[in-house]
């Protein structure tokens, strides 16, 4: 039996060596990654040794701020303690408080000891803690100091009043709304519905989670939808670039058929019988599917696809403020993230009015509207106005940058005219604002489920001659864009125009 004992000893030695290699893996090779996993409180405890900076809107309203339990007593009338207290910390306890409740739950995000961080609280974590680019929380926590270190305050481009108009409009619905300053790219509002109160996450998680997992998704950037007729803004750009005569009249009978290269495709309008004789402007104003589908087929798929690329389809939107887990999803025409080299006739005609496999985020739709408002220049979207250091010094200040040039000024002007007509006599005429010239494009996108109402879209900007705001609103299952999304967009525009006066 000696031989089998010796063999067993050898086998067990190998097994114990593997165990120790496992320890090496977790304790040395993979330990940094473990520190960043959700559910690991170690990093969040170390962060408690730095007094976290606040987050403010463009007018100085507090969106998120850290308070001591005593300050919380004055603020909310009861003593609030952190859900979990770091063991053996000598620093004052801090409670993260969001005075605006559910208004900014997705974009600013939540901050929880138990459920981690999301939104800007997560992506701007290092900035809020005042850590340098190469400084880790571990190294900062190691520096023993009597006074807690202080992080940076962050002032956002967001505007609480416009955000409130968006969130109130979306209340009880499901969808998203984004507002942008077309000239600078500053994001003025970014809302996703359903929403929740981040202050109640730790205490009321079950109830919030019961709404569904979608409650934690920022649909403005992390969900894509078929754009429906709002895609005609992009198609219009393609048609203008292909040299279409905007005044040439097309007889819209409500149905048309295109035959080319042995392929054949039908297209129908929303309105049975069609809109009669339409030119480029009327086609936009009434949202004629037949006009855009047949003209796109004539212009050809390469012309159409080039336009989508100019508008940023298939590209990562450089919204670095929400980097990492919150990257905006790319818009695309195939499998939601890519632009193919060619489309067949059917896909081209359906894509021209935003069906087929076209998928886009609400943020991207707002940027398309903003580019038309801004003479064809698409600005890099921005969320951070400035960063203020612990000694009130400005650490960072936002500078507008052009991201893409999808249209030349002439093309932008033509599309703007069509959008003005839509409000004057077309699909959005019920939403006209007295005294303010609003340009708009409605959309209703089928979701593929015939039993569900279509998703309602509304893309608009105002005032047309000197735009201060461009918005995109999506209401899931809302039906028509003018009926569901339009009123929300209108209220957001009113809030912005009132403020700019």
């Amino acid at each position: 039996m000696t031989r089998s004992i010796k063999r067993a000893a050898l086998g067990l030695t190998i097994c114990f060596s593997i165990l120790s290699l496992g320890l090496v893996y977790w304790q040395f090779i993979n330990s940094d990654e473990l520190l960043t996993k959700p559910g690991n409180l170690r990093a969040i405890y170390m962060e408690q040794e730095i007094w976290r900076g606040g987050i403010f809107d463009r007018n100085g309203e507090i969106l998120a701020k850290s308070y001591t339990p005593d300050e919380m007593l004055k603020l909310v009338g009861k003593k609030v303690m952190p859900a979990i207290r770091p063991p053996g910390s000598n620093y004052p306890l801090q409670v993260r408080y969001f005075p605006q409740g559910d208004l900014f739950a997705h974009v600013v995000g939540e901050y929880s000891f138990i459920y981690g961080k999301t939104g800007l609280e997560s992506s701007l974590n290092k900035t809020l803690l005042g850590l340098g680019p190469n400084e880790s929380i571990e190294s900062a926590a190691d520096q023993l100091i009597n006074e807690p270190r202080r992080g940076n305050d962050v002032v956002l481009t967001l505007d609480s009043k416009i955000q409130a108009a968006a969130v109130e409009g979306l209340a009880g619905k499901s969808g998203a709304a984004v507002a942008i300053n077309p000239k600078t790219g500053e994001i003025l509002a970014m809302a996703s519905a359903p929403t929740f109160d981040p202050n109640q996450l730790d205490t009321n998680y079950q109830a919030i989670n019961a709404i569904g997992q979608q409650v934690f998704v920022n649909k403005a950037i992390n969900a894509t939808f078929a754009p429906g007729s709002t895609m005609k803004l992009v198609t219009a750009g393609a048609l203008l670039r292909s040299g279409i005569d905007v005044n040439q009249v097309y007889n819209d009978t409500g149905h048309d058929r295109v035959k080319a290269n042995g392929e054949s495709r039908d297209v129908v309008d929303e309105l049975q019988g069609g809109y009669g004789n339409v030119d480029f402007y009327k086609a936009l104003a009434y949202s004629s599917n037949t006009y855009f589908a047949t003209r796109a087929a004539m212009a050809g798929s390469s012309q159409f696809l080039a336009a989508t690329r100019r508008f940023g389809f298939g590209q990562q939107i450089p919204l670095w403020e929400l980097e990492n887990q919150n990257n905006p999803i790319r818009a695309g025409l195939v499998n939601s993230t890519g632009v193919p080299s060619q489309l067949n006739l059917g896909a081209l005609m359906d894509s021209a009015y935003g069906q087929a496999q076209v998928q886009v985020t609400p943020l991207h739709m707002a940027m398309i509207g903003a580019a038309i408002a801004n003479n064809g220049q698409m600005m890099r979207p921005a969320l951070v106005e400035k960063v203020i250091g612990p000694n009130q010094q400005t650490v960072y200040r936002f500078q507008p940058e052009v991201w893409l040039n999808p249209l030349n000024p002439g093309e932008a002007q033509e599309i703007k005219q069509g959008m003005l007509d839509a409000v004057q006599y077309g699909t959005a005429s019920n939403l006209a604002i007295p005294g303010i010239s609003m340009a708009a494009k409605t959309g209703s996108a089928e979701t593929g489920d015939r039993n569900k109402p279509a998703n309602g879209w509304f893309v608009a900007f105002a005032p047309a001659d000197n735009p201060v705001i461009a918005v995109a609103v999506l209401v899931e299952g809302g039906g028509t864009g003018a009926g569901s999304a339009g009123p929300i967009a209108r209220n957001m525009i009113l809030a912005a125009v009132r403020e700019s006066r």
């Binding site: 473990l34 959700p38 559910g39 409180l41 063991p87």
Partner: protein, 433 residues
């Protein structure tokens, strides 16, 4: 009398020093240790008394095994005191009783060969204990493995280990030749006839079924592994091992298909991060704790795992050690186990008879397998099957049983050193029964 009594005394001072040092560290990290002063003093005295008894009664056996086990015990006590002082008070009591049990087993049974007399009594004991648990047992942590007697509750499956291994050792000693050679010809292979193989297969099979019914998967795995190893040890035929692996994989696959909780275990193992706030929390928190340990650890009382990992004082105590004592501390635990297993195998090689060799070898493998399964579980090398880490984890049943087994090992060692090893006997007096 120990061969070198003074050197052996220093070995006994190691665990005592570890315990007092640990309590000192606890005190400096701001924990209340006043309650433990007396307990630690009693531990020290009892340990020295065990040493004195060994010297007085003329113990001749292995002198490394017992101090190594006591080092693990002392570390366990300190860590349990850090996690939950109330539990530590009880564990101190179990440890004192356990040392008594080891002494009783060592000196009470006089000669381990007396255990070999009642083969089927042990087999019957295995089945009765398991069946009684299944019928009257209470469910804790998903497994029906607890039996309440008055205000005490204990885990019979721990006690089954004693009966099982002793039965296997007797049975294999008696049937070694028949199992090795085989009397029935199947193609090119000669296999033992069912009459020989039957009782073994039946007992192991029924035990595993009973354990599976209690959902004690970890213990079932330990039993299966030890039985397989002991058959290999007795026959020296690798074909038994080779046969055992597909049987194990097949059973595992069947269990995976049939039982929902097995599937859940595997899912958690593959991706604990997906359910980090639900089922995956235990293993995820364990890895977080291990990961933050680094080389030297965060220091006793400075880790989070002790409070964040569910069952940190029992199945997951290794993760707490890895966090607070780091890689060095975790490796120290593994090395102590290697020393213990090595000494078990040495005792097996030197044993007076085949029963002793099989028993000591089987026990060494039992300790190895238990440590491997739970440490691999908490480090995500294998799916987690919760079993205590021998001598370190909190728990009376496990500790007492392992101390009894330690007593058996000491006895085997003592007898072989007193009357000569099997090989010496063979040379001197021919083969003894």
């Amino acid at each position: 009398m120990f061969k070198r009594p003074v050197a052996t005394l220093t070995l006994f001072l190691f665990p005592i020093a570890l315990l007092w040092l640990g309590l000192g560290l606890l005190y400096t990290s701001g924990k209340q240790v006043d309650n433990f002063i007396w307990q630690a003093a009693i531990f020290s005295v009892v340990l020295l008394a065990y040493y004195a008894l060994s010297v007085l009664l003329g113990y001749k056996g292995d002198r490394f095994l017992f101090p190594a086990v006591m080092c693990l015990t002392a570390i366990g006590l300190v860590v349990i005191a850090r996690i939950d002082p109330e539990l530590a008070k009880r564990q101190f009591l179990w440890v004192t009783c356990g040392i008594g049990v080891a002494a009783l087993c060592m000196w009470g049974i006089k000669d381990y060969r007396r255990l070999a007399r009642y083969q089927y009594v042990w087999a019957l004991l295995v089945l009765i204990l398991l069946a009684v648990t299944l019928i009257f047992g209470a469910t804790r942590g998903g497994a029906t493995s607890w039996l309440g007697v008055g205000s005490l509750s204990f885990e019979p499956e721990e006690f089954v280990k004693i009966a099982m291994i002793i039965f296997l050792a007797i049975y294999l000693k008696n049937n070694r030749e028949l199992l090795t050679i085989g009397t029935v010809q199947v193609g090119r292979f000669s296999v033992p006839e069912p009459r020989v193989f039957g009782p073994l297969a039946l007992l192991v099979g029924v035990s595993l079924l009973l354990l599976a019914a209690q959902k004690s998967l970890g213990t079932a795995l330990v039993f299966y592994g030890v039985a397989l190893f002991m058959v290999y040890l007795a026959t020296e035929k690798g074909s038994y091992l080779l046969l055992g692996i597909p049987v194990f994989l097949g059973t595992g696959f069947l269990g995976y298909k049939l039982f929902h909780h097995v599937q859940t275990r595997v899912e958690i193992w593959l991706n604990p991060w997906a359910t980090v706030y639900a089922q995956g929390s235990q293993i995820a928190q364990s890895l977080f704790a291990i990961g933050s340990g680094g080389l030297f650890g965060l220091g006793l009382g400075h880790g989070l795992g002790a409070t964040r990992i569910p069952a940190s004082e029992t199945d997951f105590i290794f993760a707490v050690i890895a966090e607070e004592f780091g890689f060095i501390g975790a490796m120290a635990i593994l090395l102590l186990f290697i020393v213990i297993i090595y000494r078990c195998f040495v005792i097996a090689l030197k044993a007076n008879d085949e029963f002793g060799t099989l028993l000591a070898g089987g026990l060494g493998f039992l300790f190895a397998l238990e440590a491997l399964i739970i440490v691999a579980g908490v480090t995500k090398l294998l799916p987690l099957t919760g079993i205590p880490l021998p001598w370190v984890s909190y728990g009376g049943s496990s500790f007492l049983v392992h101390m009894f087994l330690l007593g058996c090992l000491s006895n085997i060692s003592h007898i072989s050193e007193s009357y000569g090893t099997a090989s010496q006997l063979r040379v001197g007096k021919g083969i003894t029964g």
